[in-house]
């Protein structure tokens, strides 16, 4: 009984192909259209709208990020140039003060040297004057001694 029904060709059977086939095909085609309008189109619209929104936002954020980076780089270069400027000014000022210091030092040295020289010259002149006087007195004294000795004789 089963054997007949299993591959039965007459009435019923597993491989009994009839008008169910085309009708089922029509039903599936109709279902495709129904599902397209009920499911695929509306859900697709919502999902794609959201995807677009998200991707637009990502692009915008990326643009903003690159702008921020550019500004940051700008600021960094500005900062760097300001820093070098400041350094330049500081070094210039340092040079200036160094120069002034050196000048003042030289001036003071010169002055000191000059007064030292003057003092030395004075000391020298006084020394020679004293020596002259001393030798003169010695001469006088020796003359006196000689005169005395001569007179006593």
């Amino acid at each position: 009984m089963l054997a007949f029904n299993f591959f039965g060709a007459t009435e019923g059977g597993l491989f009994d192909i009839n008008a169910t086939l085309p009708l089922m095909a029509i039903q599936v085609v109709a279902l495709t259209y129904i599902l397209n309008s009920l499911f695929f189109k509306p859900v697709g619209n919502v999902v794609e709208k959201r995807e677009k929104f998200v991707s637009n936002n990502i692009i915008e954020a990326k643009n903003k990020l690159s702008e921020v980076k550019k500004l940051e780089a700008d600021l960094l270069t500005q900062l760097q140039s300001a820093r070098t400027e400041a350094q330049k000014i500081v070094s210039e000022a340092e040079d200036e003060s160094d120069k002034l210091y050196k000048e003042a030092l030289e001036l003071a040295n010169n002055e000191a040297n000059a007064s030292k020289e003057k003092a030395r010259l004075e000391i020298e002149s006084q020394t020679s004057a004293a020596r002259d006087q001393l030798s003169k007195q010695a001469d006088d004294l020796s003359e006196l001694i000689v005169n005395r000795l001569i007179l006593e004789k």
Binding site: L2, T20, A25, V28, L31, I34, F40, G44, N45
Partner: protein
């Protein structure tokens, strides 16, 4: 004697019995249409509920439907290609949903409790008519896809690497629907039969793992059917250089 009684008992599974509807001259398998209408009705209700109030921040059912939509889009896009997948997504998705709902509906709902005068309710995909109808639709689709996208150049595909391929490619046009329909039909019918026989022999516990296996194969078969349909369409619209 034992063999005979076993046969009659086994025949209680009513393999190959149908509930015939006679409309004029044509005869239909009523049980197939009954179950498909119930299942598709449930599917449509489910989808209408989920898409009733579409919001930008998906909630509840809409989430599930969007996941499903995304899944189907990925399937169609990977198989058919970026260029024309949009045109074929509803068809691939419908095939997937129809086969999936039919398979799972057939496996999950205790149809056996509803007594029919002849035959019994079950998965619509366990009827050869349904699977051949689906497979022929796939064949028509890939022919249409190829011809509408590439015109007569579609037939270059038959002699693509070398003209030696011509007989094999022609043969493929017949084996594709044949394998599609019989794979689905065989798997789902075999699953129903295995569960039926096991329930008949050992009504408790033992059929449960087989039922889970059946759910697994049902889902896999739906995926295979939709993927292959998409692959055939993709093959037809693919540009050879």
């Amino acid at each position: 004697m034992f063999f005979n009684s076993w046969l009659t008992n086994f025949a209680a599974l009513e393999v190959g019995q149908h509930l015939y509807w006679q409309i004029g001259n044509i005869r239909l398998h009523g049980q197939v249409f009954l179950t498909s209408w119930i299942l598709l009705g449930a599917l449509l209700v489910f989808i209408s509920l989920g898409t009733k109030k579409m919001e930008n921040d998906p909630k509840g059912l809409q989430n599930l439907l969007e996941f499903l939509w995304d899944y189907i889009r990925d399937l169609a896009r990977t198989q058919i290609g970026e260029k024309v997948y949009r045109d074929w997504m509803p068809f691939i998705g419908t095939l997937f949903l129809f086969v999936f709902v039919s398979n799972w509906g057939g496996a999950l709902i205790p149809w056996r409790l509803i007594k029919l005068p002849s035959g019994e309710l079950g998965a619509p995909t366990a009827d050869i008519n349904t699977t051949i109808a689906l497979a022929l639709l796939v064949s028509l689709s890939y022919f249409y896809a190829g011809l509408s996208n590439k015109g007569w150049r579609y037939f270059e595909y038959y002699v693509h690497p070398t003209p030696i391929m011509l007989p094999f490619k022609i043969l493929e046009d017949f084996t594709k629907p044949l394998s599609l329909s019989f794979r689905l039909f065989g798997n789902i019918l075999a699953d129903e039969l295995v569960v039926g026989v096991l329930v008949f022999l050992v009504p408790l516990i033992l059929p449960i793992p087989v039922m889970f296996l059946g759910l697994f194969t049902s889902a896999i078969q739906a995926l295979i059917f939709a993927t292959l349909a998409a692959y055939y369409i993709g093959e037809a619209v693919e540009e050879h250089h």
